[in-house]
């Protein structure tokens, strides 16, 4: 993080409110102490975030006194793009990838921190810590800068940018162990609770507000939690009794599916994440 601040002109931390970016926010406070993090936090809001996430975000930002910027793709909203009306892939592209590019361009950020980890997905395993993007925000896996030792080359020309992943070498277990060790508060959705859900295609979807169409008698109260967070109609819950961070760690050690199993937009095709990343997704 200090490397980015030392080398980039206008960095930003992408704050998605999840566990990874909350760990990053914590690391940013540590890296620059006693100076507050010398960059703003950016939330790309799709308007379909879990309500608990937004409430947690606003509490945290207020408590820590960090600068938060929020951007939504207004043009996408006008077109009626939504995770219910649209194909999940289209929703992700317009409301996340396009929105992100709009925000990066609008504020001319030349380096953006992301919470990506190499253990998440195969194409992420090939990601650099400092990942070069063209002026069109495109990622070319064949043309990545060799990244040697701890000598990070963040030099970019006008319009080009860097995506920076400080948690590259962490695993999901590392993240939770760190949250436990540092006692970092996270969104309550990660912990098991009785929540109203519907079962769709074998996935448990939380009924977070009345925009989700449900059939009579379809909604059931179940003890669930989330391993990963995103737009609520596209992020599946898991049945769980884990109520504390320690419970989560114990549950994860016994898990038989990956974290991203609950991300419906990742199931499109084998190289889905790679294609999204080439287009500018994080």
């Amino acid at each position: 993080m200090r490397e980015v601040v030392a080398q980039a002109a206008n960095p930003v931390l992408l704050y998605s409110i999840g566990k990874d970016s909350t760990v990053m926010m914590h690391l940013a406070r540590k890296a620059f102490f006693p100076t507050p993090p010398p960059f703003p936090f950016l939330h790309i809001a799709t308007t379909w975030d879990f309500r608990d996430m937004i409430a947690y975000r606003d509490l945290l930002v207020q408590a820590l006194g960090v600068e938060l910027r929020v951007h939504t793709n207004a043009e996408g909203l006008e077109r009626g793009i939504s995770p219910i009306a649209s194909d999940p892939g289209v929703h992700a592209r317009v409301m996340i990838t396009e929105a992100l590019k709009q925000a990066l361009d609008q504020w001319t950020f030349d380096a953006a921190f992301g919470g990506g980890r190499r253990d998440e997905e195969k194409s992420r395993a090939k990601e650099r810590v400092f990942s070069f993007r063209s002026a069109q925000h495109a990622w070319d896996p064949r043309n990545q800068r060799p990244e040697l030792w701890n000598l990070y080359n963040a030099r970019v020309a006008a319009g080009e940018s860097m995506r920076v992943f400080p948690l590259s070498n962490w695993t999901e277990l590392d993240v939770w162990s760190y949250i436990a060790a540092e006692d970092i508060p996270v969104v309550p959705l990660y912990f098991a609770s009785d929540r109203p859900v519907v079962a769709r295609d074998g996935a448990l979807i939380l009924v977070d507000d009345d925009r989700l169409p449900v059939a009579a008698g379809e909604v059931r109260l179940r003890r669930v939690r989330f391993r990963t967070l995103g737009c609520y109609p596209l992020t599946a819950a898991i049945e769980s009794a884990a109520e504390t961070v320690d419970d989560i760690i114990a549950e994860m050690r016994a898990a038989t599916t990956s974290e991203r199993h609950g991300r419906l937009i990742d199931h499109d095709e084998a190289a889905s994440m790679e294609i999204k990343k080439r287009e500018g997704y994080f």
Binding site: R2, F32, A125, K126, P146, R253, I275
Partner: protein
């Protein structure tokens, strides 16, 4: 799947391991097998691999475990590994970060990238093929980058009938290579990655083998015991100044340790102070060790910035402006001695030149080969000159302070990875001599300010014609000039140079130095050189003060130059008689922001010449005094 190992891994940080070996030796399959046999593949991932195996698999109806790691679309299509993949892997005893690297020779730079952060290597050999050139190449790079420990996995042992003789022969062959390179081979293991023999589970196929499995060998590698105590090194990364009452120096301790009260020096300037506080978010600390990211507060207000290196006074690093190094070239653009690159070493960034390419290394026999350039994936030994003295250690003594990267100034691409061998002492014995009569005095006598007017453009674009008109006009007005012309210089000073890219760089470097000397003598220097590369024009610009350089781009379309062909050179070049001719066999890089552009099709030579004369007169006459102190016109930061 069943549950992963219940016992937690120990507290040691993850061991960083690289897998290497030739293409098709089965690296990706081995990693897939490691994950599979250690029950680290989750159900949804396994389902995806089963699906992918039917589409892209190379092993019939079986699961193709390589598809667990080869994640890029192109990799699946071609069945090869293109880029490094970092895999996380945890057994009951230890956590690992495995870097799965490409075997293809064309991706050697990716292999070196992974090796730069690894502590141990698993070297794969195909039992049917034995030790290959690529096995030697990868082992060499491992040794070059400081990996001390290797596990030899003799793979596909099932395809040689699990022959003990074959295994022993390959193990003996490899031990010779390892000994030659100074690699410590922990153990050689007969393996079948596809069937899982001796990967995580002991094989019944090799009853003659009594050693550890790959997993057991990895678990027992001891790297910490081989790292000697290194002196304290702290590259200053960022100056932390929230307000007037706090000034701290943020960074990560590169080696050794420091305690409150310890004396430290700034390696470059020799200024000394003591550590007053070691500040962290979780409170002040008494000691900081290698790997700790902390903020140091010093007792004295000394001059310290990003790029400086703090060290103990009794164990200082080398400070020099020339050193010898090993260089792995990673760019499609060849390394050209004489060209200016940016060097990143520690937290410092500064312009450097490779002054001498001593030789290239032949990976086949580790011998040395004479070379004029380094191409992509070449490894060579070079001398490097830096724009100012810089602090470092030999790479063999300290991996953190002896490693550097070279960055292409045009594209910002990381072009090379270097390891310092030793400083060159001769740099310390040459000091700039101060003379009483300096640039200012010489120029004052001529009542003008000196400058360089640099004409660049294709052969036949009209550079010499316009420069001649400019010089005649200036001369008639009583301005003292000198004209340097490409052909004329090559008849004398540079008669030993040809037209390869490396020679063109050296040609311009020498001309630049001569032009600089003429500026010192107070003259207006007109230079007519094709000077096809942006980097070298930039280099000459950096030799003098910013206001003393004017780039004139004589912009004539190549078709017109070919039509004119005043010297008959294009005809020869097009007939293939002149290789490396600019515009035909060699590129011309147009200037980005020249002071003057002359489109010769739209403007007659005499009006173009008038514009150049106007520029010169406007700069050289007012006040009659040159700007800038004499003798200090080294490349400035903005150059």
């Amino acid at each position: 799947m069943t549950a992963p190992p219940a016992a937690p891994a120990d507290d040691r940080p993850p061991l960083r391991v690289i897998t290497c070996g030739s293409v098709d030796d089965g690296k990706s399959t081995l990693i897939g097998r490691l994950l599979y046999d250690c029950r680290l593949i989750l159900d949804d991932q396994l389902a995806a691999v089963a699906r992918d195996s039917r589409r892209h698999g190379t092993v019939g109806d079986d699961l193709d475990l390589a598809l667990l790691v080869d994640g890029l679309a192109a990799e699946r299509e071609q069945g090869i590994t293109i880029d490094v993949a970092y895999r996380f892997f945890r057994t009951g005893r230890r956590a690992f970060i495995l870097a799965d690297t490409p075997g293809h020779e064309q991706f050697t730079r990716n292999m070196a990238t992974a090796a730069s952060t690894a502590e141990a290597a698993v070297v794969l050999v195909d039992a049917r093929k034995g030790v290959l050139a690529q096995t030697r190449r990868h082992s060499f790079i491992c040794a070059l980058l400081g990996i001390g420990t290797a596990i030899l996995a003799v793979n596909k042992i099932d395809l040689v009938d699990a022959s003990e003789d074959t295994f022993s022969r390959i193990a003996a062959d490899y031990r010779k290579v390892a000994a030659q390179l100074g690699l410590r081979t922990v153990v050689a293991i007969p393996v079948s990655a596809r069937w899982g023999d001796n990967v995580a589970i002991r094989s019944a196929r090799t009853p003659w083998y009594g050693g550890p499995t790959v997993v057991e060998a990895l678990e027992s590698i001891d790297v910490a015991g081989h790292a000697p105590e290194r002196p304290f090194r702290f590259p200053v990364q960022w100056v932390n100044r929230p307000g007037a009452d706090f000034r701290g120096y943020a960074g990560t301790v590169a080696s050794g340790a420091v305690a409150v009260g310890d004396a430290v020096v700034v390696a470059g300037s020799g200024q000394q102070s003591t550590v007053a506080r070691i500040v962290t978010f979780d409170g002040d600390r008494a000691v900081a060790c290698a790997g700790d990211a902390v903020t140091l507060v010093l007792a004295d207000a000394i001059d310290l910035a990003r790029g400086d290196l703090l060290a103990p006074p009794q164990h200082r690093p080398v400070v020099a402006d020339q050193f010898s190094a090993q260089l792995v070239w990673m760019s499609e653009q060849p390394m050209l001695p004489g060209r200016s690159y940016l060097m990143r070493i520690g937290t410092a960034m500064l312009p450097v030149r490779v002054t001498t390419l001593k030789h290239r290394i032949d990976i086949g026999d580790f011998g040395t080969v004479p070379a004029r350039t380094l191409a992509l994936n070449d490894i060579g030994v070079v001398n490097v000159a830096t724009a100012r003295p810089v602090a470092f250690d030999a790479y063999a003594d300290n991996r953190r302070t002896g490693a550097f990267i070279l960055i292409d100034r045009d594209t910002n691409a990381t072009a090379g990875a270097g390891m310092v061998l030793f400083p060159l002492r001769r740099a310390a014995n040459i000091h700039r001599q101060r003379h009483t009569v300096d640039k200012r005095a010489r120029a004052a006598l001529k009542q003008q300010r000196p400058c360089i007017v640099w004409f660049t453009g294709l052969s036949g674009s009209g550079k010499s014609t316009i420069a001649d008109l400019v010089e005649r006009t200036l001369h008639a007005r009583g301005i003292h000039t000198m004209l340097l012309d490409g052909d004329n210089v090559r008849l004398g000073l540079n008669h030993d140079l040809g037209f390869t890219d490396a020679d063109r760089v050296e040609n311009i470097r020498r001309v630049g130095e001569v032009a600089k000397l003429f500026v010192e003598s107070g003259l207006v220097v007109l230079c007519c050189f094709i000077s096809p590369f942006r980097a070298e024009r930039q280099m000459v610009r950096g030799l003098v003060q910013p206001e003393e350089f004017c780039e004139v781009f004589v912009d004539t379309p190549i078709e017109v130059c070919i039509d004119r062909d005043a010297k008959g050179l294009y005809r020869k070049a097009l007939a293939g008689e002149i290789p490396n001719f600019t515009g035909i066999g060699s590129p011309y890089e147009r200037p980005d922001a020249p002071e003057i552009t002359i489109a010769t099709l739209a403007e007659p030579p005499y009006t173009a010449a008038e514009r150049v004369v106007d520029w010169v007169l406007a700069r050289i006459q007012p006040g009659g005094q040159p700007t800038g102190a004499a003798g200090t016109s080294h490349g400035s930061a903005q150059a």
